[in-house]
Symmetry: C2
Subunit: 377 residues, 2 copies
C-alpha cells in the first residue's frame, strides 16, 4: 500500500451502485468519479498544464509503453521525473503498457516471465516483466501505477481469455511484491474478457491481494456496449468498497454515466481529445461535426449551455473556418471544449451524487441528448 | 486620411535613420518600431489572442487574398467583422493580396483595370480591382489596409519592373479615391524592384498622394540581403518623415535591426511562426534546431536569457521530445517563444532609440550572435 495514497468513500449506493469519493495523493486531492485526460507522450495533445488546470483537470494519464520507447524512462528520470519533464504538478497515473503491447507492438511473445515485443516505432526488440514495469513507473515518479497485464482482443477464444486472466493475476502478485517506492500507489487490472464468472473470480482474487485501487481492463475493445456494462456489473460488487475502481479506456459520455451508475470511480479515454482533432465536439445536445457546411455562417457557439473558453469567445463559423483551413488552433479550441464538457459531466454527476439525485441526473442526461437529436440532427 | 489613425514621431535620426514613434488607432496604441505577427487565415497559427496579448503583440496582420477565398469576406462581415470573428480586439492590418496573387495564384492576367486570377484552392476564377480590394478590407473593418499592388519576382526584366511599378502607382491613386470608411487607414506599396532610381521616383510619387502611411514591397523575394538593404535605403528618405513606413514580409532578426537602422517602423514576416513549426527557435545566441540529438537530454531552456512561458517551464529535452513525437504542443511552445523573441528584440530597439544608444544596441546584437556561434554551433 502506498503511504501517500488514500481513498475516502463519501457516499455509496451499495456494492455495485454509484459512489462519491475522494482520493488523496501527495500531489493533490481528486474528487471522484473523475475523468483523466490522456497524455500519451507526456502531453495532453494541444494543451498546456495551465490549460488543463483552468478547465478543472485533477489528474492526468500517461503511458509507460510510449514513454519507455520515446524519449525513454532514463531520460525522463535524469530530467527530474515525469512531472517536472512535462511541467504538470498534479497527480499522474501511468498505464502499464499492457494494452499497448497487445494492440500496437508487432511480434509479441508472452511467457510466464514477461513479454517480448518489437517497438512499433523502429522494430527494436524489448523484454518487459511485471517487475521492470513497476520499476519503470516508479522511476518516472508517478502517483498511481498499473500492473502489467495481458489484454485479449474481442472476440477471443475462451481458453485464451482464461490464460490471459491467469497470467495477469500472477503478474499482479509479482508487481505487488516488486514495489520499492512507497509514494506510488499500485492498481492491478481485472481481466476476464466477456465472461462474467471469470471477471468475478478475478476481481475476488485481486481484492485478496490488497492493492491501493483496482483497474478494470479488457473492455471497450469492440464488444457491444451492453456487454461492456454487464462486465462492469459483474466486477464492481466483488471489489473492496473502500478502494477506488478505474475503468480503463472508457468511454463516451453515455459510457461514463452508465459506469458511474455501476460503481466506477476513475475513467480515461482518448475520445474527447482525439475526436476534437477530428472535428467532433460533444455538446449537451449531442455531437457536432464542425466541418459540416451548415456551421459555415453560424454565429452561435458550439454549445450555448457551455461556459468554456471556446464557447465564450468563438462562433461555430470561426471554428469551422479554422478546421477547414487545417489550422492548429481548431484542434486546440475543440480539445479544450471537449475536455471541459467531460469534466463538467463528471462535476454534474458528483453534485448529483452529493445531493442523492443521481437517478434524476441520469434521466435528464438522456432527455437532453434526445432533444438535441431533434433540433440539431 | 483616416480619422482614427495618427502617427507621432518621438525621435528621429534623420530622413533615413532609425526612428521611435507611436501609432494611435481606435483599437489601441502601437509603439514603433513594431513587429506584426502574421495571421493569414484569421489566426496567428497555434496561438489564441490572449497568448498574443500576453507576449506583447500590439497589432497583427491578416491577408485579404486568403480571407476572400476562404471563408469569404461577406461571411466575416455578416459575423460582425474580422475582429469579432477571430476574437482579437487590437489593431489589424490586412495585406491587399497583391503579393499572394502574384506568388500563389495560377493563370493571373493583369490589365489596367485590375487582375484576373484563379484560386490556388479550387481553381475558381476571380477579378479584383484596386477599388474592390479597398471595399473588401473596409468590409472586414480592419484598422490599416493596403492598396492592391503588382509585385514582380526576382530577378525580373527591367521593363516588367517598370510596368509593375507604374500599375501599382495608378492603382494606389484609385485606391485612395475609392475609400469610404474613415476609420480605416490606407497605405500604398512602393515597388520598383532592385532599381534605386525607380524606387526613389515611386516613393516621391506615392508621398505626393498623401496616405496614412507607406509600405515598401517587392523585397525579400530572393535578392541578396545587401541589395534589399540598399533598396530600403533608397526608399525611406523619399517618404514623409511624419508617416509610418512598413517593410512588407521582412524578415530575419538581422533584417529587422538593419531596416530599423534605415528608418522602417513596421514589419511582418512568417519567419518566427513558420520556423517554429519547422522546429527552429531564435535565441539571443543564434538559432536552435530542436530536433538535433544534442538536445535530447538537455535540461536547460531554449534560451537562458529568455523570459517567455516556454523558456520558464520547459527543457530543450522536453521540446525535442514533443517535436520528434509530432505533438502539436511543440509547435505552440516554439511559436510562443519565437514571437516573444521578436517582440523582445523590437522592445530592445525601442528602448535603445529612446535612450539614444541604438548604435550600441546594434553592435551588441551582432556580438551576442557571434558568441553564440562559438558556444552552441
Amino acid at each position: 500500500m502506498s503511504q501517500d495514497f488514500s481513498f475516502h468513500l463519501k457516499k455509496s449506493q451499495g456494492p455495485a451502485g454509484p459512489r462519491l469519493g475522494k482520493i488523496t495523493t501527495a500531489r493533490g486531492v481528486i474528487e471522484t468519479p473523475v475523468f483523466m485526460p490522456v497524455g500519451t507522450y507526456a502531453t495532453v495533445k494541444t494543451l498546456t498544464p495551465e490549460d488543463l488546470q483552468e478547465i478543472g483537470a485533477a489528474i492526468i494519464l500517461s503511458n509507460i509503453y510510449h514513454l519507455y520507447l520515446r524519449p525513454g524512462v532514463e531520460t525522463i528520470q535524469a530530467l527530474g521525473g515525469l512531472h517536472r519533464f512535462m511541467h504538470w504538478d498534479g497527480p499522474i497515473l501511468t498505464d502499464s503498457g499492457g494494452y499497448q503491447i497487445f494492440s500496437l507492438a508487432p511480434l509479441r511473445t508472452i511467457t510466464a516471465e514477461g513479454v517480448t515485443f518489437r517497438s512499433h516505432l523502429d522494430g527494436s526488440s524489448h523484454f518487459l516483466t511485471p517487475e521492470t514495469v513497476v520499476a519503470l513507473q516508479e522511476a518516472l515518479g508517478v502517483d498511481i501505477m498499473i500492473c502489467l497485464d495481458e489484454c485479449p482482443g474481442y472476440p477471443a477464444p475462451e481458453a485464451e481469455v482464461r490464460r490471459a486472466a491467469e497470467v495477469t493475476l500472477k503478474w499482479a502478485a509479482r508487481s505487488q511484491a516488486a514495489r520499492e517506492r512507497p509514494q506510488t500507489a499500485l492498481f492491478p487490472v481485472v481481466q476476464g474478457g466477456m465472461m462474467p464468472e471469470l471477471r468475478r473470480d478475478q476481481a475476488q482474487a485481486m481484492a485478496a491481494l490488497d492493492f491501493d485501487g483496482y483497474a478494470i481492463g479488457g473492455l471497450s475493445v469492440g464488444e457491444p456496449t451492453e456487454l461492456m456494462y454487464a462486465m462492469v456489473e459483474a466486477t464492481t460488487p466483488e471489489l473492496p468498497e473502500d478502494k477506488p475502481r478505474y475503468l480503463m479506456g472508457v468511454g463516451t459520455p453515455e459510457d461514463l454515466v452508465e459506469a458511474v451508475a455501476r460503481g466506477v470511480d476513475l475513467f480515461d479515454c482518448v475520445l474527447p481529445t482525439r475526436n476534437a482533432r477530428n472535428g467532433m465536439a460533444f455538446t449537451t445536445n449531442g455531437r457536432v461535426v464542425i466541418k459540416n457546411t451548415m456551421h459555415g455562417a453560424d454565429p452561435g457557439p458550439l454549445d450555448p449551455a457551455c461556459g468554456c473558453y471556446t464557447c465564450r469567445h468563438y462562433s461555430r463559423a470561426y471554428l469551422r473556418h479554422l478546421y477547414v483551413a487545417r489550422e492548429i488552433l481548431a484542434y486546440r479550441l475543440l480539445t479544450l471544449h471537449n475536455l471541459y464538457y467531460y469534466f463538467n459531466l463528471m462535476t454534474g454527476m458528483r453534485q448529483a451524487l452529493a445531493q442523492d439525485r443521481f437517478a434524476a441526473f441520469r434521466r435528464d442526461f438522456y432527455q437532453n441528448r434526445h432533444q438535441g437529436g431533434n433540433t440539431r440532427g
